[in-house]
């Protein structure tokens, strides 16, 4: 790969994983807010938060979203929109908590919609956007992200890293806004999670769709509790 092409791929990956990219992910804490109130607003230690994010990555985002992303990327590459719709349906159904499902679909839909405003000649992107518009696909985030990365010629592995990195940043961002930790701690957590992100992507991104799983009942319960909270700052 030429240096120019590599540079553009890297810049595109930075663009999609930047919190400035308009997907609305900053409105979600993935249930973290409920934990904060459960602990009566006491600060978590940064290491507790780090371990918590690791559980999300290892038991939900890695084996479910990252595997869905890897498979979707392959489908997007061979322009198989039918298979993308099938993965969209599967991963959407696997998200047990309504608010989490809906937020993921909204973020993914907006990601695709933003992209089609400046990439007009990618058939998969356009067709999948039409599927979302007509209700044929939900636009759930990992599938949308895979399609976006394929359209921007970002490699599959980089796509996986970018998605897990974005998730980690959104969790740390939510914790910061909740006052759970200080900003330097947030950066340390992101730094210390880099090997985990890398390892999880390597482990999950090439797995077949049939091995997709998620099992984090503690997190599910927290997210259900968050969904039912009367007073909250985050959607999820």
């Amino acid at each position: 790969m030429s240096i120019d092409k590599l540079s553009i791929e890297q810049i595109s990956a930075l663009q999609l994983s930047d919190s400035f990219f308009p997907t609305g992910m900053y409105t979600t804490s993935n249930g973290l807010e409920a934990l904060f109130y459960k602990k009566q607003r006491k600060l978590y230690s940064p290491n507790e938060l780090l371990e918590m994010i690791k559980v999300y990555l290892e038991c939900q985002i890695g084996p479910a979203d990252c595997t869905a992303l890897g498979n979707s990327y392959d489908c997007a590459k061979r322009k198989d929109v039918g298979a993308l719709v099938e993965i969209d349906r599967m991963i959407f159904s696997m998200k047990l908590i309504r608010d989490i499902r809906e937020a993921s679909a909204r973020s993914g839909s907006q990601l695709i919609r933003c992209l089609v405003s400046f990439i007009t000649d990618n058939d998969v992107l356009n067709n999948f956007n039409d599927m979302i518009k007509t209700g044929g696909a939900t636009g759930v985030y990992p599938v949308a992200f895979a399609i976006a990365c394929n359209a921007l010629e970002i490699s599959k592995n980089t796509a996986g890293l970018a998605m897990l990195y974005s998730f980690t940043v959104s969790m740390v961002g939510a914790a910061l806004r909740l006052g759970m930790l200080q900003h330097y701690d947030g950066q340390r957590i992101i730094h210390e999670l880099k090997p985990d992100i890398s390892e999880i992507v390597e482990k999950c991104i090439e797995r077949p769709l049939s091995s997709m799983w998620q099992f984090a009942p503690g997190i599910d319960i927290i997210q259900v509790k968050h969904e039912r909270m009367n007073s909250k700052m985050f959607i999820t």
Partner: protein, 218 residues
């Protein structure tokens, strides 16, 4: 399925406690009496209280809309971002409302935000009302800010208590004219409804272009 028919959208922003929710509670019955059907999306930083109050007052008690036409949206602590830099979640919810209720004539999007930085993305709202109140002092319009300067209509609320907080309405009016040029402003008292009809007339003229309600056209 997302409809192609975009429903006109009004964004109402203003500081906490300025009277955004009460303004909506005053505007909607007037629009409703003229035959217009309205949906509401309320961005709330920490609670669903405003959305629940409007649902109870406007839908459950007055029957001016169905209950699912008032939606509360949490913004992750970033109300400005949710209506300006990254309005993705709001746009998604607006479009879901458009697709399920294309009979609506207007969608109102409410969001808190201070006078310095609040504006609505044009992708989200077609018309931007910014509401302040007199309790911040009569310096408020003079201090400018994106909301006060850029909004399509500036609403100054709680004029009934101006005398008690030492706010001179003539100063506020003078400064609003200086800061905003020809763009309109309205003094209101949302408790009594004083001035609210003028706000509604602005919406009917400048947003709905005096078109007949969809229900009437059908």
């Amino acid at each position: 399925m997302v409809s192609n028919s975009r429903i006109p959208r009004v964004g109402i922003g203003g500081p906490v406690g300025s009277g955004k929710t009460m303004l909506i509670e005053q505007i909607v019955p007037i629009l409703s009496s003229r035959g217009y059907l309205v949906g509401i999306i309320s961005n709330d930083v920490v609670s669903r209280e405003d959305a629940e109050r409007m649902r109870r007052n406007l839908a459950t008690e007055k029957g001016l809309m169905s209950e699912d036409l008032v939606i509360g949206l949490a913004t992750g602590g970033c109300p400005h971002t949710a209506v300006r830099e990254d309005p993705s979640m709001n746009i998604s919810v607006v479009e879901e409302m458009e697709s399920k209720h294309n009979e609506l004539d207007l969608i109102i999007i409410e969001s808190g935000g201070d006078n310095i930085t609040t504006t609505f993305s044009p992708a989200l709202a077609d018309y931007f009302i910014y509401i302040i109140d007199v309790t911040g002092g009569d310096k408020y319009p003079r201090k400018r800010g994106l909301g006060i300067e850029n909004c399509d209509l500036l609403v100054i609320n709680k004029i009934d208590i101006a005398q008690y907080v030492g706010a001179d309405l003539t100063i506020m009016e003078r400064d609003a004219k200086i800061v905003r040029g020809a763009k309109p402003y309205v003094f209101v008292n949302c408790k009594t409804g004083q001035g609210v009809k003028d706000v509604t007339e602005h919406i009917i003229r400048d947003v709905l272009f005096e078109s007949a309600p969809k229900a009437v056209v059908k």
